[in-house]
Each structure stands twice: as structure tokens, then as C-alpha cells.
Symmetry: C2
Subunit: 297 residues, 2 copies
């Protein structure tokens, strides 16, 4: 199991890896301290879909700034720092390139803290804002009650690997995150959606890095929109995305299920659940997104 | 159907009804403009559980300040202003009494806007912060896809009305919100939880006011914690609460279902779905809360 990403973040302002476009998750979410409460980072072009930076990746970047703000805090043994609750509002698409992250501590507790994170681009334009609750997860916690229906997946080798060539656009994100869909919900790739409104499959960082609490913020928003399985192929811009990180994941590919809930009035809400290699529910994401729908009546 | 609450808010700073403890929902969420971006309000003692102010009520109060910030904006015919996405972080319990709401507009669009709302108490202490996306719901929208299992309820007259006398504490909120639980999930009231982790029932504002997009923010957090149905009777402080308001509700009591998802490591996440009198899904809430659990292992 890896250590928390925040612990591995290069602290030096001049870290070159963080500037390259080809870096893995740790490089792509590296943040450099400018002054207390103010951090610099680079939005990497690879974590995008049809030219739009992925919302889960941006949420992870913002949470990492909050984790860096709390750097050096000592936690009890057997506990891991984690963004247990993180919600972002996306104000306009964030282009690749330098960004500034401003962290305002709203509450500081003994083992938890709540932070506001503002993301501005190089021109000072506001692109996203998040509320991030940091907590301390027990490494060995077990479920007292699990009311979430588990996902059932075929073996990874029987699943369909998604490629950068999406239906009519390119998805560089698929080079960064290896996604293998259950063939039963992959029909939309050749124009035959199942109409169930659900996508499910295996997910892993392509750089071989194990999942940890931070990267789960990416996992809950990395699958294609579940609306693709409803024959709605259009762009689905996230308005607000909330993630609950519930446990420290074991190593190995994650199981992920993204479900459309209500599609109405130009919007869809989706819930994404993530299980680790041991089959434990480790994170859930809920989002409201805009959607281009066919006109009705 | 009522007009939007924001339209009905008394604008005068000296409105006495808003100061009394006995007012209904409109009075209890009234906000008065102090200066642009700054509003005064009174947290009413009646909207509380065991001395703690309800999180859904506070979310509605914060969203109302955002709606007031946008007062006067003209929307196309047949559209209603609504807090389509609203997430709050609760920093510490908000006591009854005067509060100040500071609204910062993060994005302003033609029919939508995103606002940060900060809530400070009379002593200037920060108690809660929210991200609120305002949109314009079509009055006559219909679902393109509904993937949420509908709730099944006995007739209201066969359900159990919750009273202010909770199990070991008082719940003044039950005087403000009439809640009738399905008897099949009300066993915890006499020490016999069903262990299903689900509470469901009918909900209406006790003052007779119809539901509208604003009051749905209250509806998604008004039921008791679903953990009561798991035999976990302790206090469940909300850390973060997200609401999606999806449709303008028809008049009449709402159907509400609150489900516990994962209970682990001192936290629970819950999802609450709300249907209107016509059986249409009108809102969903997702929250992460702390929970006092029996010690294991």
C-alpha cells in the first residue's frame, strides 16, 4: 500500500517532473507552496476529455492543496490523512497550464479540518471552488453496515479497454486511467446503448501507482457519463461534484459503477461507487451535470 | 402552487414575524439585505433537534440569501428560480439567534449563477459555508429517464406521526415539519429497529405552506438519521450535505426516503430522495455525517 500522496509531493518549487505533460498522477497533482495558504500547480493536458479538463482530477488537485496546507500535522498511529468529504463547483472549463490554489482554513480540529480551495487560472480567472473536509481514516476499519448493492463484474481480461478514441472525440484521460468496461454496458461504443443508464468496470492509474484516498477523488469521476448508456452522447459538463472517501483502498484495480439517476430539464444526477481489490466500498461520488437532450414535445 | 420563496421574502429590515420563534418556514428563512452581498437573518430555535439547529434548514437559509442576491433577475416565462445544487460544510453547531450571511458571486450566467455563502453567528464565529448553484427550472419538465427506485408508502393516515419527544431528547423540528413514518420502519421508536437502514414517510411543512424548490433543501435533511433504524441511536452531526433540486414540486405532502449507505470508521453516508404528490422525483440529498458507534474488536 502506498503512503498518502500528500506525503510524497515534491516540496521544491522547481520540480521539473511536475511541469511535464507526460507525468503520472502524483506529478499531475503536485502543488508547490508559494506562501501560506497559496499554492501553485500545473493542470496537465492529459487529464482531459475532448479538450475539457476532468472534474475529478481537478477535485484531487484542490484536495491536495488542502492536504499540503495541513502538512506536518501528526496523526495517531494507524491513521491516514484523507479528503473524507470534498465538493467542487465548476465555474468554467479549466484550461491546461499554471493555476493558483488559494486555501482558506474554515475549521481546524485535532484530527480533521475544513478548507475552502479556490482555483484561478494564469489570468486570474476563477475556474473552480471546493469545500474539502480532511479527516483521519483508520487503516484497518471494517464496515458496521453496508447498504450499497455490490457491483458484479466479469474478470478484467473479459472487459473492454476504453481508448483515447471516443465516439467522435478524443479522450486523453484514457491514457492516464486504464478503464475496462463490462461488455454488457459497452454497447454504446458501437451505437447500441443498453438503456440501463449504468456503466461499470475496472479502473486503475495507468502509471501503475496504487490508489489511495486522494486518487479516489479521480476515480469517482473518471468513467464516461452514464448517459452514454442511454443513447445521449452529448457533452455533460459537471456543475457540482461531491465525493465521500470512506476507506483506505487496498492495492489493485478498483471496481467502479456509475449510475444515472434522474435525467430531466437539461440536467442529470449521477452516483458513482468505488470498491477496492478486496471488494470493500471505499468511495462514493454524487454529481449534478448539465446535459444536451433531444427536444421533446 | 406557490411562488418562489425568494419572491415572498419580506424585504423590510424591521419585519417582526421573522424575529419570533413561532413563525413558519418563510419567516424562519427570511433574510434582510444589509448591503450588497451581506444579509442578516435569525436562526429560529424551533428548527432543531436536541438543541442542534437542523442542517437542511440552514442550507435553505443560505440558499435564500443567494436567491436574494439574484433578486430582480428576469427569467424566461415558465421558469422558476431554484437552488439546483447546494452543498454546505457545517463547521460547528449554529446556535439560534442573529446570523450574518455573506454572499460572494463566483459565476453569473444568463439563467444561472454560482454563489459562495458564508454564515457567521452574532459573535462573528464562522458556523457554516455553502456553494449554491442557482438555475431556472421549467415548471412543466418531464423525466427523460428515471433510474431511482420509487418509494412505496402506506396511506398517510396509516403512518406514525413523529413527535417532539424523541428517544431520550426533544425534537422541536417535528413541530415545524409534519412527518409520518411508514410503520414498517418506525420500530426504533420503541427499541425495535428493522435493521434495514432505511426510513421513509410523508413530509409536509406544519404551517401548511406548499413545498417549493427552496423548501426541498429542508426536506432532504428533515427525517431522523437512517442509522436509528440500525439501532445506532447516537447523535449524527452532518459534516457535508449536498442537495440536487430537480423539479418544481406539486402541492401536497412529499414522499421521502432516507437510506444509510456505508457505516464505517465513525461515519455514515446517507442518500435521501424526495417525490412530490404526483410521484415525481423532485430532489435528492447526499450527506456524510459523523456517528457514535458501539466499539468493535
Amino acid at each position: 500500500m502506498t503512503s498518502a500522496a500528500a506525503d510524497r509531493a515534491p516540496d521544491a518549487g522547481g520540480d521539473d517532473r511536475a511541469r511535464g505533460a507526460g507525468g503520472g498522477f502524483d506529478d499531475a497533482t503536485a502543488v508547490r507552496t508559494v506562501e501560506p495558504g497559496r499554492f501553485a500547480a500545473d493542470v496537465h493536458p492529459g487529464w482531459s476529455i475532448a479538450g475539457r479538463t476532468n472534474g475529478g482530477y481537478l477535485l484531487a488537485l484542490m484536495a491536495r492543496a488542502a492536504l499540503k496546507q495541513e502538512d506536518g500535522r501528526s496523526l495517531p498511529a494507524g491513521r491516514r490523512p484523507a479528503p473524507v468529504a470534498a465538493t467542487a463547483s465548476y465555474l468554467s472549463p479549466t484550461p491546461p497550464g499554471p493555476v493558483v490554489l488559494t486555501v482558506t482554513t474554515l475549521r481546524r480540529g485535532r484530527t480533521s479540518g475544513v478548507h475552502r480551495v479556490e482555483l484561478h487560472d494564469r489570468d486570474g480567472e476563477r475556474r473552480a471552488e471546493a469545500l474539502v473536509t480532511l479527516g483521519a481514516l483508520h487503516e484497518e476499519a471494517t464496515a458496521h453496515f453496508d447498504g450499497v448493492e455490490p457491483v458484479d463484474l466479469p474478470p478484467l481480461e473479459d472487459c473492454v479497454r476504453l481508448t483515447v478514441n471516443g465516439p467522435g472525440f478524443t479522450v486523453p484521460l484514457m491514457q492516464m486511467v486504464a478503464q475496462h468496461l463490462d461488455p454488457a454496458c459497452a454497447g454504446w461504443l458501437h451505437g447500441e446503448p443498453s438503456s440501463g443508464g449504468e456503466l461499470r468496470g475496472w479502473l486503475a492509474l495507468a502509471d501503475g501507482r496504487d490508489s489511495d484516498p486522494l486518487s479516489l477523488l479521480l476515480a469517482i469521476d473518471a468513467l464516461p457519463p452514464a448517459t452514454f448508456d442511454l443513447g445521449l452522447g452529448g457533452w455533460v459538463p459537471t456543475l457540482q461534484l461531491s465525493a465521500w472517501v470512506r476507506a483506505v483502498p487496498a492495492s489493485g484495480p478498483l471496481r467502479v459503477r456509475q449510475r444515472a439517476r434522474l435525467v430531466e430539464d437539461g440536467m442529470v444526477d449521477e452516483t458513482c461507487d468505488v470498491w477496492d481489490g478486496r471488494g470493500r466500498l471505499v468511495a462514493s461520488g454524487h454529481q449534478l451535470a448539465g446535459i444536451r437532450m433531444p427536444r421533446r414535445g
